[in-house]
Symmetry: C2
Subunit: 210 residues, 2 copies
């Protein structure tokens, strides 16, 4: 299996090196070809390097691992060659200070609710676990505590919420200010997708490994 | 600690019943007061029931667990009483067929990329794990495989991506069609928030318990 790497930085470089150990024939590319060369050298296992065209031309799998703002230019370059190819997108559209995503995101239910009741201390919590878990009153699966992520702007309100989460046996994971509801609400959506559309059922959850 | 429940359905009813076991003085409310009464009866532990005003009036913590479309009306009713109170928001702004969120979401990097190269088979993957994990070439933490969620519209492209993920030792979790990048990209943002802003560092990850 031939793996072409577009962007040989932290993500692309590391995954390429690692994959080369498992028999993938890796070709690294990078805007600065020296980075691609270094990655190929460190990878060994007959890894190659070159420009983006070299990485794509014979690849079965192409890993896109450039910073999101660079995506458009890169795809203009190699777009035509990607016809029918598998393009693994590892990008994240982070904004400049890494405090959020630059596209796709505008608000969350929690933030809208806070606007409706500005003098309440809103804390997002309990939304990313199926109700059947709460009904069954178990907070562990496969020997791990299910994580209940919470977010809010008032620290004492968060502390009391965390206390309730913890008493029920979950791991209370502080996800930051209320704006982090923009990450916790999609997590619930992921949970629902896995449970229903993907057929895992509702006896599922996420744990936070740290 | 007094816990007022707004909406005694699957989520609110279950959490209220469970919390009552840990000494929380719970007051259930629901649009249909019979549901609140039933929940209180099942909970026992001196749990009470009433209308939303009763649930809020003396509560230290108020759990909002009504369907998102009902939020506005409920908050109009009890808004003034929430001044200075802790409101735990357990809602999810799901759209009508539960296929996505109705607010806050518009697109994802993966979908934009697919538009740029319509004839490539785009698969979202590898974006929700820190590069330092890839660098260190370990795919387990605390004895659990880190989950690498992937999403795409082409099943053979997804299968090859899953194969790579699995070879590296991660748990490959199929999150559905490419639109599910709208849940996986926020997951990366959550990961970044936990790692940096919340101080857990980058040797972290999520696992999927099922």
């Amino acid at each position: 299996m031939k793996l072409g790497i577009i962007g040989s930085g932290n993500i692309g470089g590391s995954i390429g090196k690692w994959a080369s150990k498992f028999g993938y024939e890796v070709t690294f590319s990078a805007r600065n070809i020296k980075h691609a060369e270094e990655a190929a050298k460190e990878a060994g296992n007959n890894s190659k390097y070159g420009n983006s065209h070299n990485a794509v031309s014979s690849a079965d799998l192409v890993l896109l691992a450039v910073p999101y703002p660079a995506v458009k230019d890169v795809l203009k370059e190699i777009g035509p060659e990607l016809r029918g190819k598998i393009l693994i997108d590892a990008t994240n559209p982070l904004n400049q200070d890494y405090s959020g995503l630059s596209i796709g995101f505008t608000t969350s239910a929690a933030e809208e609710i806070q606007k409706m009741v500005p003098e309440a201390k809103v804390v997002k919590a309990f939304n990313s676990v199926f109700s059947s878990i709460y009904e069954s009153q178990h907070s562990e699966l496969s020997g791990k505590k299910i994580a209940v992520f919470y977010a809010g702007d008032d620290s004492s309100a968060k502390a009391k919420t965390a206390e309730l989460i913890t008493k029920l046996g979950f791991e209370a994971v502080d996800a930051g200010g209320l704006q982090s509801a923009r990450t916790i609400e999609p997590l619930a959506m992921l949970n629902i997708t896995l449970g229903y559309a993907q057929g895992h059922g509702t006896n599922i959850g996420f744990s936070f490994l740290h």
